[in-house]
Amino acid sequence: MKVAVVVFPGTNCERDTVHVLRALGAEADLVWHRETDLSAFDGAVLPGGFAHGDYLRTGAIARFSPVMDEIVRMAAAGMPVVGICNGFQVLCEAGLLPGALIANRDLAFICKMVDVEVVDTGSVLTAAAMPGQRLRIPLNSYEGNYVLPDGSPRVVLRYVDDPNGSQDGAAAIANDRGNVVGIMPHPERASDALLGSSDGVVLMEGFIASMEVSHA
């Protein structure tokens, strides 16, 4: 079971993500955005950062990277695909998740711990969590304000105290099948009590376990 952690030019959370996945026992490798063959992988994470500098719109240019054809294939095959922060924005731009992310309500970058509540455990990211469970996870974004005009998203994690104006308080949403998830806070940053919280571990573990399920 191996996770592809995709690196676009400007991605910056890739090493943190690999570090945590490995610490939790998963195999994980960095994959450059020009890669065209991910057949050796069973799941993918699009980590946080500023792909292509977030120029034009967050995630807009990254969506055209060669590697994205493979991500689309994996998603269609039911493999777990998770976008964290900037990765979430890429998944929306690529149409793998509905909606879009716009500037935070207060027009400021927000880097701080937030509380989220698990509202749906049917996704690859929340599979190991308990409904109603509260998690403390760092948020780190400027464009974290989720919108889905003419629709209501499948929210899997909701902010307890919405910091950025997201529709339905969405902190993470999933596709219908539950195998593609976008999450705005950073679960990999909540993986060590020394750094303030280890509540993200249950999410990363859920993701890792889902790889095996989807494979079986």
């Binding site: 030019p9 400007g10 910056n12 959370c13 090493r15 943190d16 570090h19 945590v20 950062g49 500023f50 292509h52 500098g53 977030d54 120029y55 400021a108 970058f109 927000i110 880097c111 701080k112 760092p138 780190n140 400027y142 950073h186 990999e188 940053r189 993986s191 060590d192 020394l194 750094l195 303030g196």
Partner: protein
């Protein structure tokens, strides 16, 4: 010198050199004497490209011509220093093959012209200084100062600068893990924006800014060159700044953190593969500096072809190409056999690269443009022959007066009221509005985050952690630059010690007024003296720094504002590093350090409650400083004390309140003389001590030789100061609200 015939140049920037030489070199900020020296060096009149190079390289900003003679005073040696001042960043050995690189820089004037881009490009520049050394940048700190927030112009500058630091730092992917913010009237027309960067590297990856050997190839990497900030170095940073002088504004540099991120990764790959002989970043003075300095360091010369430089705009003249300060560029010097591989690495990371020169023996720098030779000069003359000024200095006539201007208190002021007023002052209040805009968590190493005294950063997969504290205090240095300078070092060292770390090295950023005024030069010399003495006493080498002069508006100088950044090492990292949020109900509050602190000169209390700045601040006491440092490190490493906090801005009253606010636990504190509550006398700190450790802590204090006393306890929902029957009380909720909202409230208008 051979008699070369230089091609006449069509030149937009230097209009007609022959007809109007004097006007031209003056426009470029050069004095008559300096111009004569250039003529002597060359044995003839300089051509436009040459004049451009000398003018930027000999500007105050690049040549340190007013400060060099004083900077020699700093102690710079210690067994663990690998690279001292003079290179792009200082480098120290932190054991087991690991090195740490450190550097601080100012971007004051550009940030006044355009706060967002000025601050952003400041971050970009300091990062390049650090990854030029072979290090991966792991953390940033910012030290910023503005006029009071009741003026909209200051709010605009403050908001823009913070957004710029966030915009660049977050996107480039280096966490900003601490810093300082201060507000005072003197910074209204001249904000200070300093940024500091820490990098780590393995010993064998150290790279220096040298051009290597005869035949080495110079490759320019990164952003295309445009007419950005031309003359910025000399005109912006070296001339006085008057609000009216719009005409002086050259085009502003615009940062591109995305390009820098790619450049960092590309350079680190070049170092890892051992593909470079030396590297130099392009900052102020652009190509002029990035060709001449590495060549001079290597004792070499160089042929440079400006026509090969990849450009953003067409029709740039040779002087423009040489002076451009386009951001996100690096010059790599490589062996000819490795050029292809270097270009391949650049392609992989999707950055542009062009071969622009060849290193030559003999020491002459020859610059070609469109097939003609446009400059030929000794490479070393641009740095080594730079003018050196021994500017006159004299103690300001006002020193005696301000020392005599002390406040006398006939009755005790209302303590609760005073406390609330201090908590509501933006200089003292929570800086979360600032650091919550900065990604301070990236890399998963920020063990002690902003909001505590020093920050603590874990080093990769080792047991080591690096602590950093940055400190400045313009008011104190104005009242006594020598005492003030020394106290900054002691305060920073104590802050670092309170994370458990041992102080290791210091960088400084000297922000001062107009050096042509003897009073300013006196303040400058005194501050350096104070910093140096303290460093000597503590055995801390100065490994780098930066000078920013001409911080004045309409003839009024800023407070002398040296800022120090102190790096410490703790190995192994304490198991549970101290943090204010570890304080629990029932723990005792202890004070360490001198008991009788009653001097209020220079304190935030006098400034904020009485609008008074006067008197003479207390001198530091090296023996007590050392005792404090030893006590703090041992409390953390031997006893695992959960939280410590130094007594600085706002005195013990604020220190205790911050512990309460940071932990959500009320605090009760007994005092003897109310002035103890607000005095900022040095070498004092507070700690939260679990009861079972009381005896051990007491015994340790005796062993270390430091006064210590249990002065209160944590718990409840009040902040209370008590003395006999007197009780000054503030509800913890109200104090917390005021402290957290002071800046956000002001910024939402």
């Amino acid at each position: 010198m051979p008699d070369v015939s230089l091609a006449p140049e069509e030149d937009a920037f230097v209009p007609d050199p022959d007809a109007n030489r004097e006007a031209v070199y003056r426009l470029l900020g050069m004095s008559d004497d300096e111009y004569r020296s250039v003529c002597e060096i060359l044995g003839r009149e300089p051509r436009p490209a040459e004049l451009a190079m000398y003018s930027v390289m000999w500007s105050e900003h690049c040549s340190y011509k007013s400060s060099r003679s004083h900077l020699k005073r700093f102690p710079t040696d210690a067994p663990w220093v690998v690279v001292g001042p003079g290179e792009n960043a200082g480098v120290v050995d932190i054991g087991d093959g690991w090195l740490a690189a450190l550097r601080i820089e100012s971007h004051n004037h550009p940030s006044y012209v355009e706060p967002y881009q000025g601050a952003a490009t400041g971050v970009g520049g300091i990062l390049r200084d650090v990854f030029t050394m072979g290090a991966r940048p792991v953390a940033l700190w910012d030290q910023i100062r503005f006029g009071p927030l009741d003026q909209s112009k200051n709010r605009y500058l403050f908001g823009g600068v913070v957004a710029g630091i966030a915009g660049y730092g977050n996107a480039v992917g280096v966490p900003t893990v601490g810093g300082e913010v201060d507000f005072a009237e003197c910074y209204s027309g001249n904000p200070l924006v300093n940024v500091m960067c820490l990098g780590v590297l393995q010993r064998d990856q150290l790279v220096l800014g040298t051009a290597g050997t005869d035949g080495a190839v110079a490759i320019l990497l990164g952003r295309a060159t445009g007419r950005d900030g031309i003359g910025g170095a000399s005109v912006l940073a070296s001339a006085s700044f008057e609000e009216a002088s719009e005409a002086k504004r050259p085009s502003v540099q615009v940062g591109d953190p995305f390009e820098e991120k790619k450049l960092i990764e590309a350079c680190l790959e070049l170092y890892e593969k051992g593909l470079v002989l030396g590297v130099q970043d392009l900052g102020a003075a652009g190509l002029s500096c990035a060709t001449s300095e590495p060549a001079a360091r290597a004792g070499m010369g160089m042929d440079v072809d400006l026509s090969s430089v990849h450009v953003r705009e067409s029709g740039m003249s040779a002087p423009e190409l040489l002076m451009s300060e386009s951001q996100e560029r690096m010059m790599a010097f490589v062996d000819p056999s490795e050029v292809d591989e270097v270009l391949a690495v650049a392609r992989h990371w999707e950055i542009d690269a062009s071969v622009v020169g060849t290193v030559k023996a003999g020491g002459m720098l020859r610059v070609f443009h469109d097939g003609s030779l446009v400059a030929e000069l000794p490479a070393a003359s641009l740095s080594e022959d730079a003018p050196l000024y021994h500017r006159p200095l004299g103690e300001p006539h006002w020193m005696e007066d301000i020392w005599a201007k002390t406040l006398t208190f006939v009755i005790r002021p209302g303590l609760a009221e005073a406390l609330m007023k201090l908590l509501d002052d933006p200089s003292i209040a929570s800086k979360a509005w600032v650091y919550n805009q900065y990604d301070h968590m990236l890399f998963l190493n920020t063990v002690i985050p902003p909001g505590n005294d020093g920050s603590l950063i874990r080093v990769g997969n080792t047991n080591k952690a690096l602590a950093v504290s940055t400190d400045g205090n313009g008011r104190l240095c104005y009242l006594d630059p020598r005492r003030g300078g020394g106290r900054l070092v002691y305060e920073a060292a104590l802050n670092v010690a309170m994370t458990g770390a041992r102080p290791l090295a210091l960088v400084d950023n000297l922000n001062f007024g107009n050096p042509e005024k003897p009073e300013v030069m006196w303040q400058f010399r005194e501050s350096i003296e104070g910093i140096s003495e303290a460093c000597e006493r503590l055995g801390i080498p100065v490994v780098g720094g930066n000078v920013s002069f001409y911080n004045e508006t309409d003839g009024v100088d800023i407070y002398p504002t040296p800022v120090v950044g102190l790096l410490g090492l703790v190995d192994p990292m304490p198991e549970s590093p101290p943090r204010l949020d570890r304080i629990e109900e029932g723990m005792s509050l202890w004070r360490f350090g001198p008991e009788w602190a009653i001097n209020l000169a220079g304190s935030a209390f006098e400034k904020i409650t009485f609008a008074h700045v006067g008197g003479r601040p207390s001198a530091p006491d090296p023996t007590m400083a050392k005792a404090c440092i030893e006590m703090a490190t041992r409390l953390v490493n031997e006893l695992g004390i959960p939280a410590l906090h130094d007594i600085s801005d706002g005195g013990m009253a604020i220190a205790a309140s911050e512990m309460a606010i940071g932990s959500g636990q009320g605090v009760r504190l007994e005092f003897t003389d109310w002035r103890h509550l607000f005095s900022e006398d040095p070498h004092r700190f507070l700690a939260a001590v679990p009861d079972e450790l009381s005896e051990t802590v007491g015994a340790l204090a005796v062993e270390v030789g430091i006064p210590a006393a249990r002065i209160g306890s944590f718990g409840g929902d009040e902040i209370a100061f008590e003395q006999g029957g007197i009780r000054a009380v503030v509800a913890l909720d109200a104090a917390t609200e005021t402290y957290k909202n002071a800046i956000p409230h002001r910024m939402s208008h």
